[in-house]
């Protein structure tokens, strides 16, 4: 093997005056950065292995460790950046597709950060959520265009019967993360937090572990191209079903779960052999056009007696508006759209960083298109792909989403430090790993507490923002782009988002 041309990405700075050689860092690092030399009673670090997850620095009892970027400076070159060079070194060394975890980290514009919200002053009162009712309840599902009421002998009679729908106490759901890509404890934390918060979590394409069946009413069960873990009981247990066509981190390609993460338990849940790579196909092999999707939607509805909403998840791509229109007309109860920055456990870096469009633009385009076609009410819209804060939630809903999917934010709440190495199975935070030595680091009791805290805190902030705008129900914000203004956007972008520039009357 030739010389490894890669320099380390991080430096591990150890303050020797603080280090007591207790070896916590040695035990905590699954990447074997730290090593103890008993003879000299000193802990050494090999920073070439460091992924920057901060596990050691966070747990170091004497705060002796600091992780910093390794500043190996190349001759300045605006074109051949260090990242471009490192990718070439890696690729020429391995001959393989470069992988990444989590979402696109490239500096494309983040439109949420160019949107500003409105607030009431004088002419209509802002509403104080601490003293007045403030409603975040969100209902996901198909709606008819009208309600029919007849005058019967005993008063009004409702003739309209609504189809199945999901009721959320706040417009947030935990997005799809499979058992396999994340640990059982992480799945359990999500399920319990969803129940506690009155929202739903999503199985991803990993099937449902039998011990999680009791959280069925708070579970969205995914049916993806690999059909991993899909069986009648799985469909019957969940509150809703979701056909996964694509995801924001890797539009156009299938799922990748490295064999290292397919343990006995994962293999049983997914119904695949232990230790094999779980590669779901790029397309569903029974869906080659919209009418095939319609058949699958209705097959799932038939299988569950039309008692459960069936949604379709797609990645935000160039023609997302007509795609969403087709999905709505194919009979989906909701459409989940995952933007460019949506996360993943493993994706080819080149796909992750270069395919798709930002979720903000996708929401705006889809909402507008469905309205122009007069079918917006027929389908709910769930937006995901990097919702980082309650402000992003509010902005997404004002652009036209019914609710948002969060996953990266939920992982961060459980301890994730976004080192982007999920695909290695060596997650030091016990989240994106199946190694029992690592998974036990995530205590589900603490995980559920932190997740529920996050949902609660965001909900409180959403209420404050709503009240400031003079609204007391989340449905009055939906598609209400009058409450958004753009800063630092050109006219094309403002038009695409359907908003006015800040300063416009």
């Amino acid at each position: 093997m030739s010389l490894n041309l890669l320099a380390s990405e991080f430096q591990v700075v150890r303050d020797d005056t603080r280090c007591i050689a207790c070896q916590v860092c040695v035990r905590q690092c699954a990447n074997d950065v730290h090593a103890y030399d008993a003879e000299s009673d000193v802990v050494y670090s090999d920073e070439t292995r460091c992924v920057g997850c901060h596990r050691c620095a966070t747990l170091c009892p004497t705060r002796a460790l600091t992780i910093r970027l390794a500043l190996h400076e190349f001759r300045p070159n605006a074109n051949w950046t260090p990242a471009a060079l490192y990718n070439l070194y890696k690729q020429s060394q391995t001959g393989g597709v470069l992988l990444s975890g989590m979402g696109c980290d490239q500096p494309y514009p983040v439109y949420f950060d160019h949107l500003l919200l409105n607030a009431s002053q004088v002419t209509n009162p802002s509403i104080d959520p601490l003293r007045e009712p403030m409603e975040l309840r969100t209902v996901i599902g198909r709606r008819p265009g009208r309600v029919e009421v007849t005058q019967g002998p005993e008063g009004l009679r409702l003739e309209t019967r609504l189809g199945p729908h999901l009721v959320l106490e706040t417009p947030i759901l935990f997005s799809a993360m499979s058992y396999g890509s994340i640990s059982y404890n992480a799945c359990l934390s999500l399920a319990r937090a969803a129940k506690e918060c009155g929202i739903l979590y999503n199985t991803g394409e990993g099937g449902l572990h039998p011990t999680l069946y009791e959280y069925g009413p708070w579970t969205i069960a995914q049916v993806a191209s690999g059909r991993f873990g899909v069986h009648p009981e799985y469909l019957r247990t969940a509150a809703a079903l979701e056909i996964k066509i694509g995801q924001g981190a890797k539009p156009g390609i299938g799922g990748h779960l490295p064999g290292e993460k397919v343990t006995a338990d994962v293999s049983r849940t997914r119904m695949i052999p232990e230790g094999t790579d779980a590669l779901s196909p790029a397309p569903h092999h029974d869906i080659y056009s919209i009418e095939d999707l319609r058949q699958l939607i209705y097959a799932l509805k038939e299988a569950t007696n039309y008692e459960k909403p069936v949604g379709v998840k797609v990645a935000a791509v160039h023609h997302i508006a007509p795609i969403a229109s087709g999905i709505a007309r194919a009979g989906a109860d909701y459409i989940a759209i995952d933007g460019l920055r949506g996360g993943t456990g493993a994706a080819p870096t080149v796909i992750r960083n270069h395919v798709g469009i930002p979720i903000e633009l996708a929401i705006a385009a889809v909402d507008q298109r469905l309205r122009e076609e007069g079918i917006r009410h027929q389908v709910s819209l769930i937006a995901g792909g990097s919702i980082r804060s309650s402000a992003d939630v509010v902005k997404a809903i004002a652009l036209g989403a019914d609710a948002v999917y969060i996953a990266t934010a939920a992982l961060v709440a459980m301890g994730c430090h976004l080192c982007q190495k999920c695909y290695t199975g060596k997650c030091n935070w016990g989240i994106a790993t199946q190694d029992p030595y690592l998974t036990k680091r995530l205590n589900p009791n603490i995980g559920v507490r932190r997740l529920a805290n996050l949902i609660r805190a965001w909900s409180l902030e959403i209420k404050e923002m709503l009240g400031g705008m003079g609204l007391n129900a989340i449905e009055s914000l939906r598609g209400n782009r009058d409450h958004l203004r753009g800063v630092g956007l050109n006219e094309v972008e403002l038009n695409a988002l359907g908003i006015q520039a800040a300063g416009a009357a």
Partner: protein, 369 residues
Amino acid sequence: MCGLIGIMDTSGAYFSGHDIVAGIAAMEERGNGLGAGFAVYGCYPQYADCYAFHVMYPRPESRPQVETFLRQHFSIVYAEPVPHRNVPDLLCPPPIWRYFLRLPSFLQEERPGVDEAEYVVHKVMQVNTAGLGAYIYSSGKDLGVFKGVGHPGQIAEYFSVEEYSGYLWTAHTRFPTNTPGWWGGAHPFGLLDWTVVHNGEISSYGTNRRYLEMMGYRCTMQTDTEVITYAVDLLVRRHGLPVEVMARVLAAPLWSEIERMDEPERTLTRTLRQVYAPLLINGPFTVIIARHGEMIGLGDRIRLRPLTAATAGDRLYLASEEAPIRLLCPQPERVWTPLGGEPVVGRLRTPWSAQEVPLEAVSRYAYAM
């Protein structure tokens, strides 16, 4: 802040504009002279079966074009400028015409089964969105909206409002906050035989507007009130919902209240809230909504704008304050403050019909001709 008042005689007896002008003028504090208006039901008995279009021409040169359009799509029974007096302080009143229209005879042959109301709404929207600088702001049968930029007294004098008669009147004085004071932006807003006067600001405007646009309405008056007009038209006329059900959509009960309801009311209310979520009117508002035979007062669900109701004999009074009611009727039988979201509905004891116009009412109309 705005002021509004509505008076209805539920026996159908006609009364002049004197009371309504005095009533709205008594709430001077609630307006600032940037908009006032009146709606009267029963004012055109001679043309009771005709759609009475009031058309405002901020760009006067657009009139021939609009009239050509009206001739193409209607048969014009009579047309004239809306009579007015000279009120020196009024700033640039635009020319205003009224047209009494019937549907063209060829319509049923060319488009059998066409819904008459849909047809009229479509034509109104077509003119108002054409960018001509012409706005049809009153389009019902046997009713008229008279409005403009000025104090209520000035607008009343300008249009000689006191000389019209009707069995139902509403009026408005405006203190505009969110949109400029222009003649089209004054209240009442009218579409077919609906009129709406509104006090408040609709924070949910964007949501309401975009839903109504999806349903074929076009918002052209640069003000939030017209969404209420269109929402009411959609719910009551097009979807055939009773007025009380409509009120439950615009001022929907809280989810916590819905959960406490008994069946079947709970399912009905929950269904309404789910299906018509985009029509929840959120933000402070009081409205008086009227159509032939019916006057409805409604406030927002957490009552951020005032509404007082009173009855005296056959008369129902609705107003922003009790003062104008006491001015017109010192001893009402009952005065009360309706709860937020609870509609007050006045109805004619015998339903209104364009065909049964009392003959003596016709002579009252002689002035305008």
